[in-house]
Symmetry: C2
Subunit: 391 residues, 2 copies
């Protein structure tokens, strides 16, 4: 059998460069990693106990594929209270993390050949997902608009491609990798152009609970009939490894997505669903202590990176700082992160897999000690490697 005989759309995508880089540098026993979007907090104890209780109570049988009714009821209430989502339980599907939620939504909503807009820099999963589903991907650079997607940019992407059937937009707010959080006005401004052009928004709001000094606004309020919301417990409750996500969307369409979900995974793990019920029913404030820590760390990292000569995007949410490498280093993002890993044993994410090779991403969901060591190493690298004054 020959590899070139398999699905050509699978051959087109590469394994996640970020996860591969993270894996590769992990062989260094001295490495301190600020790479993955991985909270350094543990799952709150009451949620762990709920998972343990479910195990002891032998909750080990197939859940109904949409997810347990009790969990979808809890999600309906929790996200209504948090962000004003307006979805009853029968418009909510429980998934294996936000990743599966994105994968099955992209698979369902679009015909092969349709085009989907991805504002960049962006989480690399989206482009992989559109490519695997035989879609045309329109990457729209937002760096000249302070990393905010504007209605004008959406309209221009459509006008520039009269040959394509532009049917979707994948929006991440708060954003990964930039940490940018959209204001109410910025979100509301996008609705008319999307409505006029009949464009679905896949709104990835996985970082919705992690905003600093501002609220999170969901585009579903302005465009309910054309929005599929992706959310989950990975970031809000530090449950990345548990793999628990949600899809919210209009009746009928969500039923179609649920079908694809069923034939993709059957259901999310039973014991994890019980943990999630506890998180949503009694863990409304679980993210608060994390948020306080994250905000302190964000301020520290932004200050240090600026001092080191980087241009720092103002992060209003998530737990990332996206910073432009000083020109005096003459390094692209790969050269920078590889040098930092090899010589200083610090792991950061290159901007390249996100679509911007002049930037690096620092995940500050890490301990104060790790962040201090990382900032010291970055400054040392700049001092050691600058071939001309940095600013």
């Amino acid at each position: 059998m020959e590899l070139n005989e398999i699905n050509p759309y699978v051959l087109k995508v590469m394994p996640s460069a970020m996860r591969k880089f993270d894996h590769d540098i992990s062989v260094d026993p001295k490495i301190i990693k600020l790479t993955l979007g991985e909270p350094n907090f543990n799952v709150p104890d009451h949620i762990k106990q709920a998972a343990i209780d479910a195990i002891n109570d032998n909750k080990s049988h197939y859940p109904y594929y949409w997810g347990y009714q009790e969990l979808r009821d809890a999600a309906s209430k929790y996200y209504r209270d948090k962000f004003g989502y307006d979805y009853p339980a029968d418009q909510i599907v429980v998934t294996v993390g936000a990743t599966e939620a994105v994968a099955v939504t992209v698979k369902t909503l679009f015909k092969p050949g349709d085009a989907v807009i991805i504002p960049t820099p962006a989480y690399p999963l989206y482009d992989a997902s559109t490519t695997l589903n035989e879609l045309n991907t329109l990457l729209v650079d937002t760096s000249d608009d302070d990393f905010i997607l504007t209605p004008a940019k959406v309209q221009k992407a459509i006008d520039d491609h009269p040959d394509l059937n532009v049917k979707g937009l994948i929006l991440t707010d708060p954003n990964n990798p930039t940490g940018v959080a959209y204001s109410k006005e910025q979100i509301a401004a996008l609705a008319p152009v999307l409505k006029k052009n009949g464009i679905w928004v896949i709104s990835d709001e996985i970082y919705g609970e992690l905003t600093y000094g501002q609220k999170h606004y969901s585009i579903s309020e302005y465009l309910p009939d054309q929005t599929i919301i992706i959310n989950g417990l990975s970031k809000s409750h530090a449950m990345t490894g548990y793999r628990l996500g949600f899809i919210f969307g209009p009746s009928g369409f969500v039923d179609e997505i649920a079908k694809v979900h069923q034939f993709t995974v059957t259901a999310a793990a039973s014991i994890v669903q019980y943990a999630a019920i506890e998180a949503l029913e009694h863990g409304q404030d679980d993210s608060k202590p994390m948020l306080q820590e994250y905000e302190k760390r964000r301020d520290f990292v932004a200050k240090e990176m600026t001092e080191a000569g980087f241009d720092v995007v103002h992060p209003g949410g998530a737990f990332y700082v996206f910073a432009k490498i000083p020109v005096g280093l003459h390094m692209d993002s790969w050269a920078f992160v590889k040098t930092l890993a090899k010589e200083y044993h610090i792991g950061l994410m290159p901007g390249d897999p996100f679509g911007d090779n002049e930037y690096v991403r620092i995940s500050y969901a890490a301990s104060d000690e790790a962040l201090a060591a990382a900032m010291k190493a970055v400054k040392q690298l700049v001092a050691d490697h600058s071939v001309e004054p940095t600013k």
Copy 2:
């Protein structure tokens, strides 16, 4: 937005009729269900403890997408010892149950438009999976060969479709829904025709540990370069709700499948992976007491169903009896199971979703009491509803 504008291949598949029927009849508080492939055993205690330990030890972070190295090492050894699989850890991917394993394998191996053979009766997931991936499905009826796929039938399917590029076969051994387990000779006999025609076998061996009075043989021994094995812990360790599966296959191809897996779910849940390590390292004999029970129940159900006037397929494995409805009832499989559920409060699976509307499937992974009640009800239905002598 209009439903007919979404992915037409998604519109083509229906939600699992079996799971819907199971869900629908569950509103009857008196219902006794022998519907899903759901062991009535609990997860063995030592495995539950391993999951609890992982929760308490905060093993809640992203696993590497292939699955933990320790788990893939354990799977390499366990399945070598059990069935002679010959795969090192770097040819094994950990998935969210066998469902995800099938979904990502079908997605990866074939080009849109390729044809895949599915011997029927078959688990409905396969046809949904080929349809979702824009493949042509060739259903090949095996009922006239005692439900065994023969090399002649494979060759005939190819010869009958000269216009199609037949690239795959999805084989389930032991079979669901028939319970038929292939002999060594029957498995070995399929290899030459598949090799000659360059056909991949997706070999679903999820019931491999559940055979009665005979061993399980894997086609991977005869056709290693063209086999992807699907397996997992749902049936062998009664871990259905935990969602833990494996893919085994040739280097290079498995890497491509792992990529699709990553962009579909990121990884299987961390705490479930730790439970799985325990199952494979110390649970080699966990299925033995279950097997003894299953064999007793199989004999009971086969005898009772025969007495009730059904033609029973001899089940050498899995935990299903597939039985032909007496002609004197003048009922197809839906009429039979709906009558049985409504009037007698017993749930069985209709044969129709598996591809044979003259049969019903009884899952005997249920308590002795449930089985006795079900057999009594079946006999009563036959007595009450026969419009002419049954045999």
